[in-house]
């Protein structure tokens, strides 16, 4: 990576009773769209606040464009934030909101109005300049908040769950627009969300957070298909988690004894090692899947729900106790509750989780 635009060097944030962020190192490249993904309380918003200057790290440094900004207030950092509740100035017109940052930079009035017009056009609010904030819908307010932050041409744009209050259709549309705007401006975006679908659809890189720690980090496809931890496998979509013990291992292949039989996993492992495997529900194959696949045995469908794009089913596998697998099947298959199915999986779809 070239010189990162944002470097978080060992930052952590402790409060009297709890640790919000444990020692974190993170480099963000110029022009990158990074999404911090995690449940509430995972520390993702705290990280954003420390980059923006709204929270001081208990330890560690924040560098932006090579400059140590740890002790600088938000006003003197090359960042701008899109707040979760938009935090628009309610007493100002849309234009004045967007031009506020430029006014603070003493840009002449005519110039800042011209610039505000440009940015409003970029976010699809051309001609809304003279309206009052209270006359706008939620989606339009969101765009004004975005325009206001973009107008000051920050080096890094920080977005704190900006789409949380929008309905699903609007959220999808805004996700696409965020990506379009980000690519067009080339500005670095750091976006916080708890919505894994949103993270996958917009991010160049996802940073999965849990309890103040980074669980996993990488391009969405890698994080989804080859998750590093149990938490990531279950938070980024659904997973079947299988714990087991390595009964035999050669170079590159391990035989792992699990609740659905002994599976041949293409991985490096030591005999007698305890391991955790994950299988995505849509990677379970139904019926006799042929050569090269691993049979997981037979099971009975106990519960199904129609999800539109697929059928989600719980399958009770043969064996003792709670031996259930989650299955995503094409909607065309006749899979009533009580039906017997044989399940198998391709060895390469078995992921060995590190934690």
């Amino acid at each position: 990576m070239a010189e990162p635009i944002v470097r978080l060097a060992g930052i952590c944030k402790r409060y009297a009773e709890m640790v919000a962020v444990e020692s974190l190192d993170l480099d963000i490249a110029a022009g990158e769209f990074v999404v911090l993904l995690g449940p509430s309380g995972s520390g993702k918003t705290t990280i954003l606040s420390m980059i923006g200057g709204f929270a001081a790290p208990s330890a560690g440094r924040v560098l932006i464009a090579g400059e140590d900004v740890t002790d600088l207030p938000p006003a003197r950092r090359p960042t701008a934030t899109v707040f979760q509740d938009y935090a628009l100035f309610p007493h100002m017109s849309v234009r004045s909101n967007v031009a506020f940052g430029l006014a603070m930079r003493k840009v002449p009035k005519a110039e800042r109005h011209r610039r505000a017009g440009e940015v409003l056009q970029l976010v699809g609010l051309e001609g809304f300049g003279s309206r009052g904030v209270h006359q706008l819908s939620g989606g339009q307010r969101q765009r004004v908040a975005l325009a206001r932050a973009i107008a000051v041409e920050p080096k890094v744009l920080l977005l704190d769950e900006p789409l949380g209050a929008l309905d699903l259709a609007l959220r999808r549309q805004m996700q696409e627009e965020l990506v379009r705007i980000q690519k067009r401006l080339g500005t670095t975006f750091v976006h916080v969300t708890h919505d894994q679908e949103e993270a996958m659809s917009i991010a160049d890189r996802v940073v999965v957070m849990n309890k103040g720690r980074v669980e996993d980090m990488g391009p969405p496809s890698r994080v989804y298909l080859r998750p590093a931890s149990v938490f990531t496998a279950c938070f980024m979509g659904e997973s079947n988690i299988l714990t087991g013990e390595v009964v035999e291992a050669t170079s590159g292949v391990a035989w792992v004894k699990t609740r659905v039989g002994t599976l041949t996993v293409p991985t490096h492992a030591m005999p007698a090692e305890s391991v955790t495997l994950s299988i995505r529900p849509e990677q379970l194959l139904i019926g006799n899947a042929g050569a090269g696949t691993l049979s997981l045995g037979n099971g009975t469908i106990t519960e199904t729900s129609f999800q539109g794009t697929h059928l989600r089913a719980h399958v009770a596998m043969e064996g003792d106790g709670n031996n259930e697998l989650l299955l995503r099947a094409p909607v065309g298959l006749p899979l009533p509750v009580g039906a017997e199915v044989q399940l198998s999986v391709r060895p390469e779809d078995l992921v060995m989780l590190k934690r």
């Binding site: 938000p74 006003a75 960042t79 701008a80 934030t81 707040f83 935090a87 628009l88 100035f89 506020f100």
Partner: protein, 260 residues
């Protein structure tokens, strides 16, 4: 109509009549075409209003009331708002206790505040005047202005101020360009609430004034020489002003609460 609804309407009507009948009668007899404001009502006349407007003492007191109310409300609002801003944003140690101390005067009876100020002023050698009345009204209105401003300085407003800082505003710029204008309707309403209370206030104004007096004190002095329709006219003026201000306050505050 169901009996239940009928009972509600009946009760409401009785309550409103009970509250407003004395005022209605006061207003009615300000138009009395006679020398005393007692039945029978002799018909409609504006002569007592003419007398009131021609009464120099009354008009002076009216001016005094406006000055005392305006200045003391402005001072109470400024101090109360700054205290609320400091407490909400600076988060000093013992913020809870400070808030309690600022609000505590609300529980003290006006007569105690008046007597306390009277002895305090005489101890340090400050004579009674409109200034001391105004100071008394600052004492009673500051807690109220503080409470109103404090209630409007929540986390959402703090985020809006954060946005201003984020976009490059200094503390002073954020205060003057964002916080105060954003709270403008609330602050104006607080000002008028304080003004209304000062406008109606008698005990402190009576205890702390000497030669220059406010309207309620003049009314009290006039009462000593018996009932007089002119007094009804003054009362009507005081009541109408207060009502007008209350309507104004409601108009300022209601659209805000509706928008959330």
């Amino acid at each position: 109509m169901k009996p239940r609804e009928l009972a509600v309407i009946l009760y409401l009507t009785l309550a409103i009549v009970f509250i407003f009948l004395p005022v209605a009668i006061l207003v009615q007899y300000s138009f009395q075409d006679g020398l005393v404001p007692v039945p029978p009502f002799r018909g409609f006349s504006l002569r007592w209003y003419e007398r009131m407007l021609a009464n120099r003492k009354l008009m002076e007191a009216l001016g005094n009331s406006i000055i005392v109310g305006g200045v003391s409300s402005f001072v109470a609002l400024t101090l109360g708002f700054l205290a609320a801003y400091g407490l909400a944003r600076g988060r000093p140690r013992y913020a809870g206790r400070l808030q309690f101390c600022l609000m505590a005067p609300l529980t003290v009876p006006y007569i105690i505040i008046g007597l306390g100020l009277l002895s305090a002023f005489s101890t340090v050698g400050i004579g009674r005047s409109l200034v001391t009345v105004g100071l008394g009204h600052v004492v009673i209105n500051l807690p109220l202005c503080f409470a109103i401003a404090y209630s409007q300085l929540g986390e959402h407003q703090a985020n809006i101020e954060r946005a201003a800082h984020d976009l490059g505003a200094s503390d002073l710029q954020a205060l003057l360009l964002v916080t105060v204008p954003m709270l403008w309707p609330t602050l104006l309403a607080a000002f008028f609430i304080a003004f209304t209370l000062s406008w109606d206030e008698f005990v402190i104004a009576f205890l702390l004034s000497k030669f220059d007096v406010t309207l309620p004190v003049v009314m009290w002095n006039m009462l000593n020489s018996g009932l007089n329709p002119q007094l009804n006219a003054v009362g009507t003026l005081v009541f109408a002003t207060s009502t007008g201000l209350v309507v104004l306050i409601a108009a300022l505050l209601l659209p805000r609460s509706r928008n959330g």
